[in-house]
């Protein structure tokens, strides 16, 4: 490996690390305020990206980048709040309704657009009506697990139905796609990566400022510590939780808009990114937004670094050598499991303060 390569690898490590940080922060922001692991986080990101893609590249009336991006963020925030309403607050019945629709779709043989376009609103209405009957149960306190997973499935299937085949890779236009390379002597790095990383760093810092310096951030901290006591401070706990879901959805779209121009995107990418976000958050410490961000940084950098290392090792073996790259995720996950045995609160998570 040449030194010049090393510079580009380092830049890639940082870029992916910061984007993973952004995804992990979304998980932590939601978890802290609501104790919900959002299994639809990756889908929110992918839906946002495709809303942007359709608005920005459609041949009929393409919108300029900033407008399309803003609309995509707005739409995803709305979806994030609906996610909380149907998949968390009224999880049990919604889950039942969504499963009804899934079964209907399976019976119909295809998940064609009609089933989804008619089925999803019908399920929502059914769920709402069932909730009104005020019979609770089914999912119990863990209803959100099924709720967010079911919501993720609906988002993904809906997207597949609207966009097309699940294996269609789309090249998403990026803000920095036209950037050339940066030369420093013999070292050459891609300007697109540098700009993307810089942009992501700004957003990560912005989220951290919201979390640690603003009134809304203080409210989130209070709700995370004690919901009942927060209400006694005059904090509208429900509104704060909705705000957290909205903030997480917005940050997911931004992460998506930054990462997909570098990687391609398809409607079924959601689960991959959900796992990345959850892994990074657990690695760093899911109860701390900063911890989760650092976890994302470590995971992103580790993936790139380890990938290149395994590549180099396979290459030493010559033509017939076993490609070791496929071992990457297994190694990363083993490291995570080992870490969680030794430090259950994550790498950077603080010691949980127990109630006395």
């Amino acid at each position: 490996m040449r030194v010049a390569d090393l510079a580009q690898i380092l830049v890639q490590m940082v870029t992916q690390g910061v984007i993973y940080a952004l995804l992990a922060m979304g998980i932590a922001i939601v978890y802290r305020t609501s104790r919900v692991l959002n299994f639809a986080h990756g889908e929110l990101m992918v839906v946002g990206v495709f809303v942007f893609y359709v608005l920005d590249t459609n041949p009929i009336r393409p919108l300029p980048y900033p407008v399309a991006a803003a609309v995509a963020i707005g739409v995803t925030i709305a979806i994030g709040m609906v996610l909380h309403l149907v998949a968390v607050e009224s999880a049990s019945w919604v889950t039942a309704a969504i499963i009804i629709v899934l079964v209907t779709a399976a019976l119909a043989g295809r998940s064609g657009p009609a089933v989804w376009i008619l089925g999803a609103p019908a399920a929502a209405v059914a769920a709402w009506a069932l909730r009104r009957t005020s019979v609770r149960g089914l999912g119990g306190s863990l209803g959100w697990i099924l709720g967010t997973i079911a919501f993720a499935v609906v988002l993904q299937e809906g997207l597949v139905a609207l966009i097309g085949s699940s294996e269609d890779q789309q090249l998403i236009p990026g803000l920095f796609s036209s950037f050339g390379t940066i030369r420093l002597g013999s070292v050459v790095i891609a300007g697109e990566y540098v700009a993307t990383a810089a942009c992501a760093i700004v957003v990560v810092i912005g989220l951290d400022v919201i979390e640690s310096r603003t009134r809304f951030g203080r409210a989130m901290k209070a709700v995370a510590a004690n919901k009942e006591a927060s209400a006694l401070m005059g904090i509208d706990v429900r509104r704060v939780v909705y705000g957290a879901f909205a903030l997480a959805a917005a940050s997911a779209v931004v992460a998506g808009l930054l990462v997909t121009p570098l990687t391609f995107a398809k409607p079924t990418s959601g689960p991959t990114f959900t796992i990345i976000a959850l892994t990074a958050a657990l690695l760093g410490g899911i109860d701390s937004v900063r911890g989760a961000a650092l976890g994302g940084l470590v995971l992103g950098a580790l993936e790139i670094g380890l990938g290149r290392l395994l590549d180099e090792i396979s290459r030493l073996g010559g033509e017939g050598a076993v490609p070791l790259l496929s071992l990457r995720n297994a190694i990363v996950m083993s490291l995570l499991i080992a870490l969680l045995v030794l430090r259950p609160q994550g790498l950077f998570g603080g010691r949980a303060v127990e109630k006395v």
Binding site: R215, A222, A225, E228, A229, A231, L232, M233, D236, V353
Partner: protein, 243 residues
């Protein structure tokens, strides 16, 4: 401004935590402006539930809660706080991971601009808080936490303060200190409704008291009347007299 007909009133309250189980079966309490009222009763009488129902923390099934002639039945806690009603729960009443000062700031979440003025007032009432403002609330004793919780509720400059068993679990000397603070806060013009298990001490300092039994009003009167009422002594104070 004319005097409200009902300053603070809970009437015919039926409430409970679980559907079908009514802890309160038609309680009523009334509070005049500037007054301090105590609610006592044996375990399970529903005293704490009454306070929570009034504050929107337990669903009210029947009855009405009025504040300054406005029906506030079923309003959520955060709305009542912004209307000038404060509530200090018995347990989990501070943010243990935050410092005393941060706890006080949280208390003023709705009106951050009043910080300097409210902080000065609260520290004048509770000098200990000013001196130790950096200390983590989780490291305080039970009595000190109670004072922090009361101070935090006072940050919003409430008209009415609801206190749920402020002396529970405290040493006798700390109980004295907490009661002294409560009397002083009331003397400052803040109306107080207090639920207490230490019935005798409570009746000694309140203007009027209510005795609950099994979710219903059993007796009411001035603190002195109840302290000397043979029926109340026999039922509730006799066993506590040896405290």
């Amino acid at each position: 401004m004319t005097e409200p007909r009902h300053y603070f009133l809970a009437d015919s309250l039926v409430a409970g935590y679980v559907q079908g189980v009514d802890i309160l079966q038609g309680c009523h309490i009334a509070l005049q402006q500037g007054e301090m009222v105590g609610i006592i009763g044996p375990n399970g009488a529903g005293t704490s539930t009454l306070l929570k129902a009034v504050f929107g923390l337990v669903p009210v099934r029947k009855g009405v809660v009025m504040f300054r002639d406005v029906d506030v039945t079923g309003r959520e806690a955060h709305e009542l706080v912004s209307m000038g009603i404060g509530y200090v729960p018995q347990r989990d009443n501070v943010f243990p991971s935050l410092s005393i000062e941060e706890n006080l700031r949280m208390g003023l979440y709705l009106r951050p601009r009043d910080w300097e003025q409210r902080r000065a007032y609260v520290v004048s009432q509770f000098p200990m808080l000013g001196a130790r403002h950096r200390q983590r609330a989780g490291s305080l004793s039970g009595g000190e936490r109670q004072l922090v919780a009361m101070a935090r509720a006072l940050m919003m400059n409430p008209e009415v303060l609801l206190l749920d068993e402020p002396s529970a679990g405290l040493s006798p000397s700390m109980q004295d200190e907490v009661f002294e603070h409560i009397v002083r806060v009331n003397a400052d013009g803040i109306s107080i409704v207090m639920v207490e298990q230490n019935a005798r001490r409570c009746l000694e300092i309140v203007h009027r008291g209510y005795v609950l039994d099994q979710g219903r009003n059993a007796y009411e009167g001035t603190g002195r009347e109840l302290l000397t009422d043979p029926k109340v002594i026999e039922m509730y104070l006799g066993t506590l007299a040896t405290d």
